[in-house]
Amino acid sequence: MSVFHKALLTAAAIIAPAGAIAQEAATLDQKVNAAFATATGPFVNLIFAPFPGTSFPWIVLWLVVGATVFTLYFGFVQFRFFGHAIKLVKGDYSDPNDAGEVSHFQALTTALSGTVGLGNIAGVAVAVGIGGPGATFWMILAGLLGMASKFTECTLAVKYRNEYPDGTVSGGPMYYMKKGFSELGLPGGGFLAILFSIFCILGALGGGNMFQANQAHAQIEGIVGEFPGWITGIIFAGVVFAVIVGGIKSIARVTEKVVPFMGILYVGASLIIIAMNYDMIGWAFGQIFVGAFTGLGVAGGFVGALIQGFKRAAFSNEAGVGSAAIAHAAVRTKEPITEGFVSLLEPLIDTVVICTMTALVITISGQLLIDDATGTYMLNEAGTAIATVGDTSGVALTSAAFGSSISWFPYVLAIAVVLFAFSTMISWSYYGLKAWTYLFGEGKGSELTFKVIFCVFVVIGAAANLGPVIDFSDAAIFSMAVVNIFSLYFMMKLVRRELNSYSGRLKSGEIKSYAH
């Protein structure tokens, strides 16, 4: 908590006089950035510490090993029950008498609106910009394995959620850690739940908030020209405040409806660009496969590609992180495992489909500079990332890649980024709030405190540079995964019990389809 408190105090100190020193905007942004980087440095270094004697961050291995263990333990559940998951989303197994309750489709799309967003647009650009096209291969692999992690956590989230007498529900890792460990007669469930909640609050403020505000500002700047980040931050914070504190649901509803269409538009545009360059598809996949094992000259070689791919996949689909489990927990079903099946579609849509589209467009666009003599990628002056046309990175790189084929698409992308950022913020404000109320109890005062802190961090995120923001966002989100995956190892046998029971009843015909 000390880092959190420090960041909070820094934020408060900076925001209070913001209006008075508006004319010193440029230096204010720099001050925010420097203070933020100093405050979060130790935490970031701990999470991304490499194994002694290697450059491989232990956290990346932690996620991949977790996803692999769950994949093997549940016998490749993501492939065996893929078809069944689709039928569940279609409502084939939903009792018509339960109509009006939260459907599998709604729980899935709500969770997706929190995960599909900048991770797919900016995050992939960061991965490909640093790790080269080869990072895409590892990203897809991480997405496929991550489906099993998501299955495990979402099944438990529904099974151990809290149902209150007034009919509302609260669920998520903190609830299954406490209840699940107690059911297994294991100590420490309560402690893990508290630890997870603290990290979830940090994740909500980092990846679910600051990173979004930061990249939304970068995108707006790309269109209208440079201006201080705190201006975007204050506008964004105002709208977020209106929704989460003012309860102006209409804004949230409009976003919830527009975002899926933006997602479809994004995939559609990607497919058009890929089709326009159909002669390069084979080459692009070649770059992805060759780059995955050789690195094709990127910093850190193939290990660099692997680390970037796994990092950005985890940041994008959040499998094993436990965040989406909070959203999935709201579904109404008599069989918790059905939501587990449905949730495994999330990393597939998010990472295997949407992230791959972005990576393919960037690779095909020729924005990444290749040394004609060697056929490998050229590095930028600092030697940290691949040199790009116009020296772009993050969302600006994706925008340039789309713009090279469809000149007006950067404008659509700018709107999409702002909407994605906004919807992700709203989702994460809910995840953070659930963790907050788990720690400090439910009540108007407690909830308002968190919501105000959340809005303050919007401003900091928009004003800081991408580097420190992305480091803190990653560190905060991955720290959730440390606690979550640790607890899942103990509780996965509970999920297997559910899986065996359900698949047995499905085979015997006891569980019937309502589809005609």
């Binding site: 409502g91 939903s94 018509p96 109509a99 009006g100 309750e101 939260v102 459907s103 489709f105 709604q106 729980a107 799309t109 709500t110 609106s113 929190g114 007034d166 009919g167 509302t168 529900v169 609260s170 649901k249 949230a252 509803r253 919830e256 409806k257 975002v259 899926p260 909070i326 959203a327 709201a330 579904v331 109404r332 709203i426 989702s427 809910y430 995840y431």
Partner: protein, 145 residues
């Protein structure tokens, strides 16, 4: 054998007209019971926020109670005075799909609905609930104007 008439109510005057017609029909038939249904428009494929999802069960219960209080129970009261058997059902879903599902469940011989006066561009293109019901109902449908 008892004839079952399913009456679709909408909480407006048009629903009242459908109920009045059903009562007259029941008088003529004699051995006849009425099932009055109110369908709350709902799609399992709509998009919702996490907060809405968390409170959805509570909201659903409230919606059903409001429909019972304002539409179904007054209709039952109005008819039961005449000594006729009448039951009420509230469902969420697409109006025509839900009425068809109830007609099958209740073994209804006929569905009686009223034509709503309001229209709109979407309804002109895709058809309103009434026309969808007429097109796909397995039992005869009477549409009261």
């Amino acid at each position: 054998m008892t004839t079952t008439l399913l009456v679709g109510l909408d909480g407006h005057a048009s629903g009242e007209r459908a109920l009045d017609h059903a009562r007259r029909l029941a008088e003529l038939i004699g051995d006849c019971e009425l099932v009055v249904a109110y369908i709350i428009e709902w799609s399992p494929f709509s998009f919702q926020t996490a907060e809405e999802n968390a409170a959805r069960h509570k909201r659903r219960e409230e919606e059903i109670q409001i429909a019972l209080d304002r539409v179904i129970n007054p209709a039952i009261e109005k008819v039961s005075g005449s000594g006729r058997t009448i039951r009420g059902v509230v469902r969420h879903g697409d109006v025509s799909d839900a009425l068809i599902a109830i007609s099958k469940q209740e073994n209804a011989d006929q569905i009686i609905v009223a034509r709503a006066s309001e229209g709109g561009f979407a309804k002109r293109i895709f058809g309103g609930s009434t026309s969808n019901l007429v097109m796909s109902s397995p039992v005869p449908v009477t549409v009261v104007s």
